[in-house]
C-alpha cells in the first residue's frame, strides 16, 4: 500500500493530540485545595465535573470517521505488478484522427465518420486525455489534449469534408508526436477514414510508440467510381480567335464487387461558363478508360471556364479547366540583306503549327529602326551583324526591358558585337571552325532538361550535320544548352535584365549545316523563339492544395491596381504575397484593375479511387518503436506505470470518503439518541 500524499497522514496524528491532552490533564495529581466542598458538592454533577469520555464506542466511531477522511486525503493506492494486473483500466492518451478529405463526402461516409468520432469521444474516461486531429493532404489538431468531452464534441461540430486529397503520413506523424509527449501509461489512436490505398504512398513511413494501440475505423462504402481524369485539347487560331477541340479522359476504377465484364453506360457533358455545350455517352468496363471527343469550341476573348461533368452512372465528378487565349507571338527577323532569302527556313518553320501562333516580319539590319520593336515579343538576328548606332542601342535596351533575342551566327553574323552589344551575349563569338573535311560535326551533348528544350526533349538532334560554326567561347556552364561533338558550345542562353538572349553558333539555313532539313528544326525554332520571348503555357487546371504563383510585385512596381481573389464560395481577399493557395474545388477569379482571369481547382483525381486498405494492411504499414525498458515492453504500456496512475485507476479515496460520511451520519444518529436519555443526578 502506498500513498500519493503521505504528508496528510500527519493529520491522523493531530487527531490524537486533543485526546491525549484531555487524558493527561485528567491524570494531573495536583489538585486545588479548598477549605470546604460543601457548596461545590451541592451544584449538579454535570456542571462541576470535567467532561470525560463516557461512550467509548461512539468516540471510536468518530475517530474512525476522521481517520478515514485523513487517509482519503493521503490518496492511498495498492501497488500492483503491471504484468500480472494488466494495463487495462489505466489512463490513456487518446488521439482521434478524422479523415476529412474529399472522398469522405461521397455517399454516407461522412455521417458514419461523425458517428464513429462521437463514439470514440464517449469512450474517453475521466482519467484519459484526448485530442481531435483532422487531416486531408495535411493534418491539424483542433484541440489541445483534454479530458473535457464536451469540448471535443464542440470541436467536432465545425468539421466538414474538404476538397483535399488524402495523405495518412502527416496525420499519423502528428498523432505520434501527441502520444510521445504524453506521460500516461497507455495510448490509443483512433483512425476514422475510408482508408484509401492511394493515401499510403511509398513515402508514408510511420512509427508509433511502443504500447500505442491503433484502432482503424473503416467508414468507406461500395460505389461505382467513374471519374474524369484529364482533359486535353488542340488549339488553333481562326479569324483572329482561338478555338479548342477538347478530349476528355474518363476512367472507371476497379472495385472488388464489380463484374469485370459488365460495362456501364455514362455520359459526359461539356460546359462553358455554366452552359452545357454538348453531352457524349461512353461505355466503360471495370478498370477501363476512354477518351471522349467533343466538337471544336471557340474560346471567349476573355477566357472560358470549362467543366467536363459526369452524368448518369457514377455521377458526381467534374473536372474544371480554364482556357485563356494566348494570341500570337510577334517576331521580327533581322537579316544582313545579303543572299537570297536567308530566313526562308525560319519563316516557314514559324508559319507551321497552330499554337502559339507567330506573326513574322523581316527587316534588313540597315533598315531596322527602334520603332520596329513596338509590340514585338522576339527578334531573330539571323546571320546579321548587330545593328549599330541608335538602332543598336534601342535593340539592346529593348532586350534588357523584357524582349527576347535569338542570334544565329553564320557567315555575316560575327560583326558588330562590341561594347553594349557584346554584353548581351552569353559568351564571345569564336573564330570559324571548318569541319567539312571531317564530314561535318554533330551535336555531342544536349541539355534536354533545359527550359528551352524540355517540351521537345533531346531526340532528333543527332541527325544534323554542321560543316561550319563559330563556337561560343567563355560561356558559363549553366548557360550552355548544347555542345558540338568536339565539346565546343553550340547553343547557350541567359537572361539579360528582364529579357533573354539565345546564341546559336551556326546558321539557321542550309549554308553551314543541314539542321533546317531535319525534323527537329521546326520544334527547335519554335522553342527557341518561345523561350526567348519567355512565353509559357499556363496550366489550365490545378489540384486543391496547390499553390499558384500570381505576379503581384511587378504589377505593384508598375503602379497597377491591387490584385484581389474571389474564391469559389464567394469570399474575396486581397492577394499580397503573390501566392494563391487553392483550398476549394471550383473557379478562383483573379482581378487586377480591368484584367481578369480564372484559375480552375479540382479535387485530386485519386480521391475517386475506391481501392482501400484492410485493417491488417493498415497495421502492416505501421512500424513500432522499441520499448524504453523490459518492464514497459512486457506490460505493453506506453510509459512506465507510476504511482499516480495506479491511484487514479483504483480511486480508493472515493470509497474511503463515502464510508467516512456514512460513519459520521451514523454517529450523528447515535449521539442524538444518547443525548435524549435522562441526565445523571448530582451527587
Amino acid at each position: 500500500m502506498g500513498f500519493l500524499v503521505p504528508a496528510f497522514l500527519l493529520g491522523a496524528a493531530a487527531l490524537a493530540i486533543p485526546v491525549i491532552v484531555h487524558l493527561i490533564h485528567r491524570q494531573k495529581t495536583d489538585a486545588t485545595p479548598f477549605p470546604s466542598l460543601m457548596f461545590v458538592a451541592r451544584i449538579p454533577h454535570k456542571s462541576v465535573e470535567r467532561r470525560r469520555i463516557r461512550n467509548w464506542p461512539l468516540f471510536a466511531l468518530r475517530c474512525l470517521a476522521l481517520l478515514l477522511i485523513v487517509i482519503a486525503f493521503a490518496r492511498p493506492f495498492a501497488e500492483r505488478d503491471v504484468e500480472a494486473a494488466g494495463a487495462l483500466g489505466l489512463a490513456r492518451e487518446v488521439v482521434i484522427v478524422l479523415d476529412h478529405s474529399h472522398s469522405m463526402s461521397l455517399g454516407e461516409r461522412w455521417p458514419r465518420a461523425l458517428e464513429a468520432a462521437r463514439a470514440a469521444i464517449a469512450q474517453v474516461r475521466q482519467e484519459d486525455r484526448a485530442t481531435l486531429v483532422v487531416f486531408g493532404r495535411s493534418a491539424a489538431a483542433l484541440t489541445e489534449t483534454t479530458d473535457d468531452r464536451a469540448r471535443l464534441l464542440r470541436a467536432l461540430e465545425g468539421v466538414e469534408p474538404t476538397g483535399e486529397g488524402t495523405r495518412y503520413g502527416p496525420a499519423l506523424r502528428l498523432a505520434h508526436s501527441i502520444v510521445a509527449r504524453s506521460e500516461l501509461p497507455r495510448a490509443r489512436i483512433v483512425l476514422i477514414s475510408d482508408m484509401q490505398r492511394y493515401g499510403w504512398d511509398a513515402e508514408t513511413h510511420v512509427v508509433l510508440p511502443h504500447g500505442a494501440e491503433l484502432q482503424p475505423v473503416h467508414v468507406g462504402e461500395a460505389s461505382v467510381p467513374v471519374t474524369v481524369t484529364d482533359v486535353s485539347y488542340d488549339r488553333a487560331t481562326f479569324a483572329g480567335r482561338e478555338r479548342i477541340t477538347p478530349r476528355v479522359a474518363v476512367h472507371r476504377f476497379a472495385t472488388p464487387a464489380a463484374d469485370a465484364n459488365a460495362a456501364i453506360e455514362t455520359r459526359v457533358t461539356l460546359e462553358l461558363d455554366g452552359r452545357a455545350l454538348e453531352t457524349r455517352a461512353v461505355s466503360l468496363r471495370e478498370g477501363a478508360s476512354a477518351a471522349v471527343a467533343f466538337t471544336t469550341v471557340t474560346v471567349p476573348d476573355a477566357g472560358g471556364r470549362f467543366v467536363a461533368r459526369i452524368d448518369g452512372a457514377g455521377a458526381g465528378d467534374a473536372l474544371r479547366f480554364s482556357v485563356v487565349p494566348d494570341g500570337e507571338l510577334r517576331v521580327l527577323i533581322l537579316e544582313s540583306g545579303a543572299g537570297a532569302a536567308p530566313s526562308l527556313y525560319v519563316e516557314r518553320a514559324l508559319a507551321i503549327g497552330g499554337w502559339p501562333g507567330y506573326a513574322v516580319e523581316r527587316r534588313s539590319v540597315a533598315q531596322f529602326r527602334a520603332a520596329d520593336l513596338d509590340g514585338r515579343h522576339a527578334v531573330i538576328l539571323n546571320d546579321a551583324p548587330f545593328p549599330g548606332g541608335e538602332a543598336g542601342r534601342a535593340l539592346a535596351r529593348w532586350v534588357r526591358e523584357g524582349g527576347g533575342l535569338v542570334v544565329a551566327i553564320g557567315e555575316r553574323g560575327g560583326g558588330g558585337w562590341t561594347g553594349e552589344a557584346a554584353a548581351l551575349l552569353p559568351g564571345t563569338i569564336g573564330r570559324v571552325v571548318d569541319r567539312l573535311d571531317a564530314g561535318g560535326a554533330r551535336f555531342g551533348w544536349i541539355d534536354a532538361s533545359h527550359a528551352a528544350l524540355e517540351p521537345i526533349g533531346g531526340t532528333g538532334f543527332g541527325a544534323a550535320r554542321f560543316y561550319r560554326y563559330r563556337p561560343i567561347e567563355g560561356a558559363a556552364g549553366e548557360h550552355v544548352i548544347a555542345r558540338f561533338d568536339d565539346g565546343r558550345v553550340a547553343l547557350a542562353g541567359h537572361d539579360v535584365g528582364t529579357g533573354r538572349v539565345l546564341l546559336f553558333a551556326s546558321s539557321l539555313d542550309v549554308s553551314w549545316n543541314d539542321l533546317a532539313l531535319q525534323p527537329v528544326f521546326l520544334p527547335l525554332v519554335h522553342r527557341l523563339v518561345a523561350h526567348a520571348a519567355t512565353w509559357q503555357h499556363e496550366r489550365d487546371w490545378f489540384t486543391v492544395g496547390d499553390v499558384v504563383p500570381v505576379p503581384v510585385a511587378a504589377a505593384a512596381e508598375r503602379g497597377d491596381a491591387e490584385t484581389t481573389v474571389t474564391a469559389p464560395d464567394g469570399r474575396r481577399a486581397r492577394l499580397e504575397d503573390g501566392w494563391l493557395r487553392l483550398e476549394q474545388a471550383g473557379f478562383y477569379e483573379v482581378r487586377r484593375g480591368e484584367e481578369r482571369w480564372h484559375v480552375a481547382a479540382n479535387v485530386d483525381r485519386a480521391e475517386y479511387d475506391p481501392a482501400t486498405l484492410g485493417e491488417a494492411d493498415v497495421h502492416a504499414r505501421i512500424a513500432r518503436a522499441a520499448a524504453p525498458d523490459d518492464a514497459t515492453r512486457a506490460a505493453g504500456v506506453l510509459n512506465p506505470v507510476r504511482d499516480e496512475h495506479w491511484e487514479r485507476r483504483q480511486a480508493f479515496w472515493w470509497y474511503l470518503l463515502v464510508v467516512a460520511l456514512l460513519l459520521l451520519a451514523l454517529e450523528s444518529v447515535l449521539s442524538g439518541r444518547l443525548t435524549r436519555r435522562p441526565a445523571v443526578s448530582s451527587s
Binding site: T32, F34, P35, V48, E49, R50
Partner: protein, 312 residues
Amino acid sequence: MRITAARGLPGARFIDPLALARISSLELLARTVVHGFMTGLHRAPHLGASLDFAEHRSYMPGDDIRRIDWKVFARTDRYYVKEFEADTNTNFVVAFDRSRSMRWTWQGVSKLDYARFLAATLLYFSSQQRDRVGLVMYDEDGVGDFVPPSAKHLEHTLYALERAGSGRTDPAERVTPADDVMRRLADRLRRRGIVAVVSDFYEEPESVRDALQLLRSKGQDVIAFHVLDPAELEFPFTEANSFEDVETGRRVPVAPDKLRAQYRALIAAHIATLRALLTDAGIDYVQLGTAQPLDHALFDYLAMRERLVKVR
C-alpha cells in the same frame, strides 16, 4: 461610651491585616491595634462616645489621673476615680477554630492568621478592660488547648494563639461535630461571660446555631465572628481542575467557569441564613473578610459589650 460604627478612623491604618502580618509578636500586634483603635476613638469628633457612669471608688496609685472626678474632689477634698459600667469585670473567652480549613488562603493573609490577629486584639482589648480573658482551641479532633479565664492569663492566651498555626495538616479521618465542641466548652465555663467564636463555620447553619445555643443556654453571651477569605466568597478560580477538601481530603473535578455563579449564590445564602438564624437565637454575628481591617470587628465587639452591659 456609646460606640457607633464608623470607618476611616484616624490611626486605623495600623489595623490593616497585611500590615499586621509583619508584626511577629501577637502581643505587640494586639497592643498596636487596640491603642490605635482607642486613639482613634478618642480623637473622633463624631463619636461623643460615652460609657455610662457606674460608681466612684478611691483613687489608687497608678490609676489614670484623667479619670479623677474633680467635682467630687472639690466637694470632699479626696481623690475618687469614676468607674464606668464597661469597667465591670467579666469573662471573655475566645473559642478559636484552628481546623484545617482555617489555614487555607488564596491570596494575602490566611484565615488562621486573620483569626489570630482578631482573637489577640479582642483578648488584649478585654484585658485592658480588666476582663478575665481565656481561650479555647478546637478543631476537627475536638477541644484542644484551654486557657481558663483569668485576669492574669492574657499572656497565656496570646502564647496559645502563637502556637495555633502548628498542627496536623493531613485530612482528618473523622470530624468532631461543632455541638460536641461547644457542649464541652460550655461545661468548662462556670461563670457567665462573653464567648467570641472565631471560625469559618463550614457547617449547616442550623448546626452552627444549635451548637452556639448550647453556650447561650449556659448563660454565655455569644458573638460569632465568621471569617472567610474573599476567594471563598468570589470563587475566582479559572483553571478546571480537581478541587480537594482540605478537611476531608475529598476531591471533586471542577470547571470553575461553569459553577461560579451558582457557588456565589449558595455561599451568600449560607451567610444570610447563618446571620438570620444566629440573630434570631440572640447570637451576634459578624462576617469578616481577611482583607478587611480589624476596626470593623472591634466596633462590633464594643457595640455588643455596650449592649450587654446595659442589659446586665
